[in-house]
């Protein structure tokens, strides 16, 4: 009959129990748990960071009332544009120039100055002279037509004529005015630049 095998000592039995536990636990922790846990921790920190970012974005919403403000601004702009269009209607267009010239000559005739009057368009004015204050909108001197005007007459006629230049339906700018006494009677020769 076969001899009975030696019985394991308690120490050996405990060793046999502990060894696989330690090996399995080590392998699991080293190759499974740690990488998975690291990934989870990394994701966790990213989630926390995202939550903070979202909380900050929600705390200061850039779009709060922006739509209403934009609509209000656009409405106000429409009103201002309408006013601007109305104001710009006082500026003569190229089509308006003949009628403005006609009005000027009419006024000269009313003041008895039409016989000694010379008005001509100045094509050579490529750049407007510095006659307006700093900050004036370009539209007031760009795309304008410039005319030289020369009239001769007594002071009593010259003065209302000059005053009439600013009372028309369209704005007429007067600059580079030169007024000179030309004879013993005291007649004045007025030369000036009209900006229509």
């Amino acid at each position: 009959m076969a001899k009975e095998k030696r019985r394991l000592t308690p120490f050996e039995q405990i060793g046999l129990l502990i060894a696989p536990v330690v090996i399995i636990a080590y392998v699991y922790v080293q190759f499974v748990y740690s990488p998975a846990n690291k990934k989870a921790e990394s994701l966790g920190s990213q989630v926390v960071e995202l939550e903070r970012s979202i909380a900050a974005l929600k705390a200061n919403p850039a779009d709060r009332g922006i739509r209403e403000r934009l609509e209000a601004a656009q409405k106000a702009e429409a009103v201002v544009k309408a006013k601007l269009d109305e104001a710009r209607s006082k500026l003569a267009t190229k089509a308006d120039v003949p009628s403005v010239i006609n009005q000027i000559t009419s006024n000269a005739r009313l003041n008895g100055l039409d016989r000694n009057m010379d008005i001509r368009r100045l094509e050579e004015f490529a750049r407007p002279p510095k006659m307006l204050s700093e900050g004036a909108p370009e539209i007031l001197y760009r795309d304008r037509t410039y005319h030289s005007l020369r009239v001769v007459g007594p002071f009593k006629n010259i003065l209302p004529f000059l005053a009439s230049l600013g009372s028309g339906s369209k704005i007429v700018g007067v600059q580079n005015a030169s007024i000179t006494v030309v004879n013993e009677k005291g007649d004045l020769e007025v030369t000036l630049l009209l900006r229509i």
Partner: protein, 504 residues
Amino acid sequence: MAGDIIAIDLDRDAVRAVVVSTHGRSGVVTEAVETSIDTGFGGMGEHGPAFDTALAALAGQPPKRVVVLTSQARSFTCDLSLPLSQVQKLGREKLEHAARWEIEPYLDFPASEALLSVAIPQHQPGGYASKTTTLQVCVAPRELYAAIEGACQVRGMKLLRLYAPDNAFAYSGVGALEEGGLEAVVSLRNSSTAAAMKRGQEALIFRSIPAIVGNDPSSADELVWAIADTVKDFTQAAGVPERVILADAGAAIPTLAEQVKLQSGIDAAVWSTSYTNGMVKSECGTIGPQYASAVGAALQELGICGSDKHGVDNRIPVAHTLRSNLHVAIVTLIIVLGGGLGLNYYTVHSRTKRLASDQSDLKTTEQDLKFRQSKAQEEEEKIAHVETAMEAARKEIAWIDKLRNAKPAAATLLEGLRGTIPYDVVLYRVEQSQASDREFMVSGWGWRAGSISEFQAKVQEAEWSEFVSPGGIYEKDLGRTAATGEQEKVLTYQFTMTIRLKAE
């Protein structure tokens, strides 16, 4: 018949075999044969011929399941120094380990080679409160078991258990008395004598009796006295038995029952199936007391009589069991550890999955919020642009209104000068500045310097002028031809001045 079993009793000078089957809650003896042998059973490998002898005597085919009684399987009573309550809590292995240690001095072979069966008798001699517990131990050499098992296998039978004859007789179905009644059973074998005290179907006390059946009449007297003393001891321990049953081969001695009755004062009888209250029936005629132990072993094995099987089987050795348990423990531990680690991994994996999902959702939310923020910035820029445009438009409107309402500066100047110029001052030239339409260079002359300076002062104070910068007043001979034809001096004062008009 289903449930058939054969019990083979290997006595010193005879082999007996009984075939017992179950019938309800009783056993039926279908065959009982006895064959004398001359050689006996001393060795381990000598059972084959005896088996063949017994089996050959049987009329029919023997059952496949077999139990064997041999005096080489022995029964011991030992005491453990532990109270019954603690012994009952011990596991089978610890109990067998303790019993092995207790019986080791009485064995003629190594205890590690012993097959054990341990039972805790219901009747404890010291009572339940005693600090010691009595154990009933059946022991047999493993080598013997293997030899008998091998002999059975060769003959196509399966050995179920090996019984010690010195307690198997106690389960020979005796139980005719009223429940709770006591009776003593005495086994008189050629090789040994033993006695037991029974209550109903349970054996309470076992005891070996030194005297054995012999040919010498004086030894018969000695046997009767020994039986009487034993019964007396039983009486002191458990109470007075109502009768004494004499079993096994020695019970056939004539007048033995009467002598025991005479000596012990208790009714005595020889075992037969008529004393079993129907628990054992015979289909093969009357069977003698020599079959009592074999019948008792068969009834135990069939579960008809007794609550425990007081025989040994080839259970796995204790050390092997321990090793198996160690294997089971390791496997269990690995499974538990694996389960735990799996659960842990599942938890970590689930957490990772949930966090990844959360991260995805949060990224979408953040992108949405950032998109809304960029849209809001665009709209903010639009608002700023609109406001800038409105400001420019307002400025332009203001300028246009200003120009529209403004009188030409030259007209304003002339009108203002008309109201301030004295009669003796004459202006002959007015030049508008090219740098500013509100600045004019005025040139003129006067008869007196005082009039000129007075004129300049008035212009300075006029509400239409902002400031006046006098250029100078100087004499000039205008000259003229007098009536006498001579040139005469005409002194005048010429002047220049710069006038800046107030802004309207």
